[in-house]
């Protein structure tokens, strides 16, 4: 075999670069800020044009002032903080209940033949129902206090956790099962040492969907069942056509939702350290 002769007739390097678009080079925060500025400008233009009544659509500046006002009220421990605390409790209790019931049902459905054959069909049937429609029933059963809102929030948040847990338990592949069988593992050992850890990524997908659902459940409960929470403040502000107030209340409410969501993502990153968080990671940076 002969070596390739490179010396003869030295040709120039054929170095070339791939096309890079403008957006590829642009830092992410510039794009995001630009979009926000465009949005606020459009809003301001519509507001100034007088096309829409200021009662229906307040200007950005008015809204910003109201956001500052509500923020001050919350930070100084005003009546809004009391309302926020009530909604916070509904969300946290609702989520804790959904987690307990959802995880247990998920294990029953995902691990036991009885669960898959007898319990799952009923869960699927209930899951397809519009769950908000159950709100009047919870109000009738549990009254107008906090417990009816907790119940609705938990009810909505339970199903994604069941589905995530059960689907995750089915995620273990044939080889892992055969391996555990050859090692003579008991059913409990297989569940704890193999199936549950492998189920974690899908479980957390369910937990993240549940974190969004539990907020919707609590607020819907407050809209329909009164009480003293943040949802009630929104309802009152809307009935008084105080649109800036509605907007600012929604913003602080979404902060609660984000905090819950990011707590779940944070726990996921600690627990499922070997895998990059999917839904959260995508939304993250």
């Amino acid at each position: 075999m002969t070596a390739v002769d490179n010396s003869q007739g030295a040709r120039p390097d054929t170095v070339w670069s791939e096309p890079v678009t403008f957006m590829d080079r642009l830092p992410r925060w510039i794009g995001m800020t630009g979009l926000m500025v465009a949005f606020l400008l459009t809003w301001q233009v519509i507001h100034l044009s007088g096309l829409v009544s200021p009662i229906i659509l307040p200007g950005p500046w008015e809204t910003a002032q109201d956001i500052a006002f509500v923020g001050q009220n919350l930070l100084t421990g005003g009546y809004m903080l009391t309302a926020f605390w009530i909604t916070f409790k509904e969300v946290i209790f609702g989520y804790a209940i959904a987690l307990t019931i959802g995880f247990s049902l998920g294990i029953i459905v995902g691990e036991f033949a009885f669960g898959e054959r007898a319990v799952l069909p009923y869960l699927v049937a209930i899951d397809t129902m519009p769950k908000v429609a159950f709100a009047p029933i919870f109000l009738a059963w549990l009254g107008f206090g906090i417990s009816s809102k907790v119940a609705l929030a938990a009810f909505i948040a339970t199903f994604p956790i069941v589905v995530g847990t059960a689907a995750g338990l089915h995620a273990s592949d044939e080889h892992a099962r055969a391996l555990f069988k050859t090692m003579g593992a008991t059913r409990l050992q297989t569940l704890i040492k193999m199936k549950l850890p492998l189920a974690l990524p899908q479980m957390f997908t369910g937990l993240k969907i549940a974190a969004v659902g539990v907020m919707a459940g609590a607020i819907t409960g407050e809209f329909l069942g009164g009480g003293k929470g943040f949802g009630e403040l929104i309802r009152v502000a809307a009935s008084q056509l105080n649109t800036p107030r509605v907007f600012s209340l929604i913003i602080y409410l979404s902060l609660l939702g984000l905090a819950l969501f990011w707590t779940v993502v944070w726990v996921e990153r600690r627990l499922v350290f070997w895998q990059k968080s999917s839904a959260g990671g995508g939304m993250a940076q």
Binding site: H175, T182, M183, Q189, P197
Partner: protein
């Protein structure tokens, strides 16, 4: 089809006592009246290396599962070290196409997992020294605290070898262990497998669909044909050990390969 009837039975491992004895092992499925295995006889002696080669769906995986006690046969008998196989056993080590290491465990924690399952965490901890020796044996020294995500495909299979050996099994059942690797790594890992088997005087049973792989590793190659799964030819491989990759260009090696291919063609693609 009344296929080839009685083939004079060869035994893998010339000197040792029989480790595995299979007599007339049959597996049929009631649904579809399908016969996956038909009267399979096999004897595997201590220190021997036997392979079953056959096309996909010929029943070789079913045979391995029956030998491992993962599924029951519908006829015949399976004896391992003189006692009947009626379920999974401690004296069998198994390896699959995929390493199946668990990403939340370090390499060494993966290796002692069989001990942890059988005898608990303390016993597994006590086996760490053995695990380190095995890692050294397979050339993974220094990787004990790395997680499987850091290992290449070949390295993961080396770790799987350690996990299989940690329980000191009487026999190794190998289900196409390197078929997910690229061809270069695969040849290399086969030589590593031979070295490890020779060093530990292991008794091994391999199923594969690669003829050269079967020939280079085995004392005996069983050729299996499907529908129903049965041995149509038994080939004793008379090549000196240790075998080397260079032997694959030998005339004798080529003859073995050709001989097996002829029988595979006849049996499998009728």
């Amino acid at each position: 089809m009344t296929a080839v009837h009685r083939i004079t039975e060869a035994t893998a491992g010339h000197h040792g006592r029989p480790v595995y004895e299979l007599r007339g092992v049959t597996k049929s499925y009631a649904r579809g009246n399908l016969k996956a295995l038909d009267r399979v006889d096999l004897t595997l002696n201590e220190g021997g290396f036997a392979s079953v080669i056959g096309p996909s769906g010929c029943g070789k995986t079913t045979l391995l599962k029956i030998m491992a006690g993962l599924v029951p046969p519908t006829g015949g008998s399976v004896y391992l070290q003189g006692t009947p196989v009626t379920g999974t056993r401690r004296d069998i080590g198994m390896m699959f196409q995929h390493a199946t290491l668990f990403p939340w465990r370090t390499t060494i924690e993966n290796i002692v997992l069989p001990i942890e399952i059988r005898d608990g965490r303390a016993a597994a901890k006590a086996k760490h020294a053995d695990a380190l020796a095995l890692l050294d044996l397979v050339g993974l020294k220094g990787f004990e605290h790395r997680r499987p995500g850091d290992l290449s495909g070949g390295m993961a299979q080396r770790a799987a070898i350690c996990r299989m050996l940690i329980t000191e099994p009487a026999v190794l059942l190998l289900d196409e262990p390197f078929s997910a690797l690229d061809e270069l790594s695969r040849d290399f890992m086969n030589m590593e497998l031979q070295r490890i088997c020779m060093e530990r005087q292991a008794t091994a049973f391999l199923i594969t669909h690669s003829i050269p792989e079967a020939v280079i590793l085995s004392d005996v190659v069983y050729v299996m044909s499907p529908r129903p799964g049965t041995f149509v030819e038994t080939v004793e491989i008379d090549l000196p050990r240790p075998r080397t990759l260079d032997m694959m260009t030998d005339r004798k090696f080529g003859e073995y390969v050709r001989h097996i291919r002829t029988h595979l063609d006849k049996g499998a693609f009728l």
